[in-house]
């Protein structure tokens, strides 16, 4: 500001900018213009202000969002994350089909394997798939997690969803070895995400958002800019393709199957059947039947965005993502399980997946338990980065209360699980629940 103060009679730069920005009233503008017409100095400064405005606008315009297709940052971050997870965890993760698809260098292969495995299917088959999921889920959990009551609850959930809606459940098709229909959606790129896009119309899907709270992929989502989200979905959807890929690449993939067989008692795990039948996380706490009058466009946009972050998952996938074990609230019934990127949860390590377990207590109140497994301090770079995100260590507990009565307790346990419990409960009750997490 080189030009005010001493020139009170002149128009100051702020006013000149206001004039250029159309912020002056008609009278003000007229007065200023009259002065400028008679004052060469102010006219000169107006021209200068105009130039600065135009150029500043142009410069800021250079900072346009990167185009979706070349969303370099996104594309780069996700593979890194998967690798980090594989390194961070105890080895089991590396063998997990849920994690492997993200490893760098592999996507092309997977993408080419993906589409042929995803087919439309009728209701009976869906029911079949759901049953398999149930059986395997039960077997897996009984062996691995040893929380029988919760297992059954989850199993029910798993069966329930695909049968509710053919749209939602259609990804279960992916688990069917012999369904030869070509990929139904012409717009779909040849990636394994194609499965979820074999959905009818945008309208129908919007409807399903509203009616069931589940938002299958839509054309809009297809065109969605968020690469990591798409990859995230591939990550889930690519499980069957991965099994297909076991032959050409016997090393790790074969191990995967072994592990899976050993744990679950079945070599073919249709994990994604349930995984892909996700509701948008934003609707998670909602009454899924009450949405009819909501503006469709707005909700669809909102929901789609959410879809790209959290989605439902089978408990076994959650376990796999956490490297073989999982924290649960003792004695509570699981409503459902979700997985999503840590970047979507405040206070979580951004580069690690979050497993979210949603419970409903006796009185229908929801309790959400989020968890991540942080790197061991020995892996100092990852641990440091995650530590910076999380901002707490073993022994720390952070309780926060939102104005609406939500209580959130965050802590890190001995095995470096980052945990976050959120509920509409009294802080003491919430902390009591924390004591039951194991």
């Amino acid at each position: 500001m080189s030009n005010d103060g001493s020139r009170m009679s002149h128009v100051d730069d702020g006013t000149l900018n206001a004039l250029l920005d159309g912020e002056l009233t008609a009278e003000e503008a007229a007065a200023v213009e009259a002065h400028i017409a008679a004052c060469p100095e102010c006219a000169k400064r107006l021209a200068e202000a105009k130039r600065f405005l135009a150029e500043a606008t142009d410069l800021l315009g250079a900072l346009e969002l990167p185009k979706p297709a070349v969303a370099e940052p996104s594309a780069r971050r996700v593979p890194k994350t998967a690798r980090e997870i594989a390194l961070d965890l105890d080895g089991a993760t590396q063998q997990s089909p849920a994690i492997r698809p993200n490893l760098a260098g592999e996507p092309p292969k997977r993408a080419s394997v993906g589409p042929p495995t995803r087919r439309r299917l009728d209701f009976t088959t869906l029911a079949w798939a759901a049953t398999v999921v149930l059986a395997i889920g039960v077997g897996y959990l009984a062996n691995e997690v040893r929380h029988t009551r919760q297992t059954i609850a989850l199993g029910e959930g798993a069966v329930g969803r695909p049968v509710q809606s053919p749209e939602q459940a259609s990804p279960a098709v992916a688990t069917q070895p012999a369904a030869p229909t070509p990929p139904p959606n012409a717009v779909a790129p040849p990636t394994s995400t194609g499965a979820r896009r074999g959905q009818p119309t945008r309208g129908a899907q919007a409807k399903s958002v509203l009616a069931a709270g589940g938002a299958p992929a839509t054309a809009a989502e297809l065109a969605h800019k968020e690469t990591p989200a798409l990859r995230d979905k591939q990550l889930a959807a690519a499980v069957p393709s991965d099994q297909a890929a076991a032959q050409p690449r016997p090393g790790r993939a074969a191990k995967t199957l072994e592990t899976v067989g050993g744990v679950g008692g079945a070599a073919e795990r249709p994990t994604t059947a349930v995984v892909a039948a996700e509701p948008p996380a934003v609707l998670m706490g909602a009454d899924r039947n009450a949405a009819a009058p909501i503006q469709r466009g707005a909700v669809a946009a909102f929901a789609e965005q959410r879809l790209t972050s959290f989605r439902r998952a089978a408990l076994e996938e959650a376990v796999a993502r956490l490297g073989g074990s999982l924290r649960l609230i003792d004695g509570m019934r699981i409503d459902h399980v979700e997985v999503g990127p840590g970047s979507r949860v405040s206070g979580a390590a951004r580069n690690l997946d979050v497993v979210r377990i949603v419970y409903v207590d006796d009185q229908g109140r929801r309790v959400v338990l989020d968890q991540q497994r942080l790197a061991q301090p020995a892996d100092s770079s990852a641990a440091e980065r995650q530590g910076a995100d999380v901002g707490m260590g073993y022994g720390d507990t952070l309780t926060t209360e939102a104005p609406d009565g939500q209580v959130r307790v965050r802590w890190v346990d001995r095995e470096r699980f980052w945990l976050s419990l959120t509920a509409s409960l009294a802080p003491d009750t919430a902390r009591a629940l924390v004591g039951r997490v194991r």
Partner: protein, 192 residues
């Protein structure tokens, strides 16, 4: 996509977004706000942080907060919260370090394969970003909000400025941005 009438079935959208809100107030309005402002927010945050993913995350966080505490004057509120998040974060030096590293990698990767025009564009982006970084926080934020079509009174509310100060702030910010940008180029050219 902008929603018209607010519907009134907010119950359908009670969010457990980001692991925070589970119950709480109806949020139809947030869905509407989302449709109206999400893109603009992401762009502003991208310009501010230089990291698209991060911008998306922050925008997400802003809407999570809107779900928790429905704002009375949403537009300035949303952007003020977004800018606050960035500011708070700026204080966390560790993360800042990480972000810089990320940006560096971005450019390095590009240099290998990008055609000249793309390299030039990328150079300009970095220069603009550096010039923007040279502004005071308030000037920078005013500029970014203006670029999202904010009126002066909205900028004043979002940044807690006196209404009469916005023009002056913008005048200073625009001049400084342009002059810094050119100054950097001069220095660079001399160095070559």
């Amino acid at each position: 996509m902008a929603a018209g009438a607010p519907g009134g079935a907010g119950a359908g959208l009670q969010g457990a977004a980001g692991g925070v809100a589970i119950g709480g107030a109806p949020t139809t309005d947030v869905a509407e706000l989302y449709a109206l402002y999400h893109e603009s927010l992401v762009r502003l945050l991208y310009r501010r942080t230089g990291d698209r993913d991060h911008a998306e995350d922050l925008a997400q966080e802003v809407f999570v907060r809107a779900l928790e505490t429905p704002p009375a004057n949403p537009k300035p509120w949303l952007f003020a919260v977004a800018l606050n998040l960035v500011r708070d974060e700026g204080r966390r030096v560790t993360r800042e370090g990480r972000k810089l590293e990320l940006l560096k990698g971005e450019t390095a990767g590009l240099a290998v394969s990008a055609p000249d025009a793309e390299i030039e564009r990328q150079e300009k982006v970095e220069e603009v970003r550096a010039a923007l970084a040279a502004l005071s926080e308030k000037d920078r934020e005013a500029l970014l909000l203006k670029a999202e079509g904010f009126r002066y009174d909205e900028i004043a509310v979002a940044l807690g400025l006196a209404a009469g100060a916005v023009g002056t702030t913008l005048a200073r910010a625009r001049r400084k941005l342009v002059e810094t940008f050119h100054e950097q180029r001069r220095v660079k050219d001399v160095a070559r």
